[in-house]
Structure formats: structure tokens, C-alpha cells
Symmetry: C2
Subunit: 213 residues, 2 copies
Amino acid sequence: MPKKTFFNLPAEKRNSIISAAMYEFSANSYKTASINVICRESGIAKGSFYQYFADKLDLYVYIMTLAIEEKIRFFSSALSESNNPGLTEQIRMLFLKGVEFSKKHPLFAALGEQFSKEDVESAKSAVIREGGKLSGSLFLQMIQDAKDRGEIDGGIDPFALSLLLQSLSSAVSMYMHDRFGNTGYEINKEEVDNFVDSLLNILVHGIRIKNSI
Amino acid sequence: MPKKTFFNLPAEKRNSIISAAMYEFSANSYKTASINVICRESGIAKGSFYQYFADKLDLYVYIMTLAIEEKIRFFSSALSESNNPGLTEQIRMLFLKGVEFSKKHPLFAALGEQFSKEDVESAKSAVIREGGKLSGSLFLQMIQDAKDRGEIDGGIDPFALSLLLQSLSSAVSMYMHDRFGNTGYEINKEEVDNFVDSLLNILVHGIRIKNSI
DNA sequence: GAAGCATGTGACCACATGGTCATATTACTG
DNA sequence: CAGTAATATGACCATGTGGTCACATGCTTC
């Protein structure tokens, strides 16, 4: 946690530090991100930085926590908006929302991606300790609910399905990013929808030809 | 490509450089991996290093190419050993071989993982340029063949399925690594098999309850 | 104004980085 | 043996790092 001097700062200055740090951590790993750069870009002195934060890790955990909170807020508000549709629709929504999120908040998305790649164990575990629940449990809950409603085959391993969904969700975002780069999501909406439909179709019906067995 | 002086080296020295470099690049990103450390660990002088390699990138590309070649050799020999079983069995084999590979050649696997995370564009593209074909095309070929054999639903988007398989394959290895760490693969063989079966079951039959529709 | 306290500051530290280069050592050739 | 070409070497360079610290500035209270 940042020191109280940081929170006493005028909002403008505080925000300029935050956004400089977000940018730096979104473009670099924990190790290669530079405090010097963050200071330069946000226009504060090196000494001041250490008046606000205990050390590099302190800032890193703070920034990552902000990004995680934003993402959770985004998804849970999207989930609660919908009126409890079936699992399929929930999954479709999560995939599309994932794409939407990385288009709307590219900085936050980039932070998340950078974090998922993170090597430095101390940095990673410190963030997780702070961040609490992961998105994995979200999927697990959805799956369990769908099972209770009798919506999916009872023999399905919830854990395996959850892993599948998680890896798919990030794969979709990655694919979209590779394919369309930073061009608007709205422009390619149709193609995105089709692609997600294809994946969902495989997921729901399996790859085996219908009517066999 | 390393300079000819490198290939003139006695095999022992050459190998000690290679293995020191592999270790360093498997534990660090391109940027954070250290030439100094590689020199120290392999017992050569800094100046000698630059007699063998043009620069850091030269070494990086060389090492990564070695790892990729090894992986391709491993998989293609495994694929050709089998007598053309169905797609399901091919997929199962690839998943299991993926786990087996990371158990048998943890250094090579770690190199691959590190590469997939790589940030530095120049490093990444230089390796890809050298490495040629990716594993993605392997999946695509398998899918197309299976379609031609009428084994899977013609309506399935091969590209979507390929992406799904790719992301799943790496997810399986990652999950296994998280779950069992460096303990032997043989010990947990049963659990690994079960997990892969669960995933395959979802993939083949879909998540919808049987006999509905 | 004075005293006290919270903040701001940048020169500085020890250390590490990728890369160079003049020089020393070795190997080969006549 | 001499002479030449190949290779080995580590001090050195410019640049960067996270972090510290003595000091300067500003604000608040008496």
C-alpha cells in the first residue's frame, strides 16, 4: 500500500503518477519497468517517489490491484445486467465482454496480459495475495449453477471445463488483438461474433458429426 | 547464426556455452537474461563470447531454434509412430505428448514457454523468421484431414478449432506444471490421463446433455 | 517572526548491463 | 626457428538500475 503522503497528494498529481505507472507496467515486465521512467513521465523527483511508495513492488501491487478491480467491476456489472440466461449465453457474453474490455480499456487489458506473463514470483504472489478471488472461480460458479439447472451433462468435469473456458477466453482476446490490432471493435463486430459463435458451437455440440452414436 | 569460430570450438566447450545459455534464457526473458551470467557459468571470457556470436540476439535466436527443432522432432516422430488413428486419438496423443515433453525436456519446454511470453518484438520476429513452420499449422492439417475423412462435423470452423486445440494444449501443460510441479509424470500418470480424458470428452461430445435435441 | 513538521529534490551510491578493444596467448605454416 | 593468422582475455566504456540522504522548500501553529 502506498504511504499516506501519496493519498494526500492533489488528485491531478496522483493521477499523473498512476497513469505513468500504468503505462510503464503495461509495456514492461516487473523487472524491466523503470522507476526512473515513471518519475520522468509523471514529472516527480526520484526522492518524492520514495516518499509515496515503499519500493517498486509497492507501486506494482497497487497498480495491478487497480486494474484487477476495474476488470472485476466491468465483468460483474455485465453479468448482473443480464437476466440469468443459460450457460451458453453467459459464456458468449463473457467472451464478447472480454473482447470489449480490451478494446475499451486497452491499458487495463495490457496490464492484465503483462501480469499473466509475469516471471518474478514475489511480484506475482504479492498481487494475488492482495487481489483475492480470480476469474477462475467465476467460471466454476457458472458451471456449477448450470449443472444444478440440468443444463449441461452431469458427467462433465467442472474443473476441466473451467480451464477450457479460461484458456479460450484469453485466446479469443489474443486472436482478436493479433487479427485486428488496435482497430475498433465495432468495425469488426460481425467477424468477432462469428468467430465466437464458431467456438461456442464446438463447445456446445462437440466436434463429432451429429447423429453418430 | 553464430560465427564459425563457435563451430570450431571443441564440443565440450561449445556444449557448456549452449547449456549455460539455455538455462539463462529459460529462466529469464530476452531483456533480463544476462550475457555476463552466461559467460561466468560457461567459464568463458566476455571477449570470447563476442568472438562466437555477433550479439545477444544472435545467441538468442540460435538457442531458441535449437529448442524448436527439438520439439518438432519430438512431436513429429510421435505422430509418425502412430498408425493414423482418428482425430480424437491424435489430439489425445498431442496433449499427452505435450505433458511428456515438458517432463522429459523441462529446459526445452521452459524455453518455449519463455518464448511464448516474449515481449521484445525484434527477438520474437527474428526467431519466427528462422523457425519457419509453427505448431498451429500441424493442428490445422490434422483437422482438415479429419474433415476429409468425414470424421468431424463439416460445419466446424477449422480455424476456431485449431485455436481451441492450441490454447488447450498449452493450458494442459501449464495446469500439470502448477499441479504437480517437478514431480515425475509417471507418478501422476493416471490423474493426467483422466484430466485429458475429461477435456476430450467435452471437446468430442460438447457440453449439452446427451439426447437433448 | 520563530519553531516545527510534512514534503520536495536531485546528486549520489553500488551494482549491473551489452558491447569494445588493445593486448596476450596459442596454433599453424614455411 | 620465425612469422603469421586465429583466438582468448579482462579492463574499460557509456548507460541504466533501485534506492538513499542531506538539504531545501513550504505550511501551520505559537
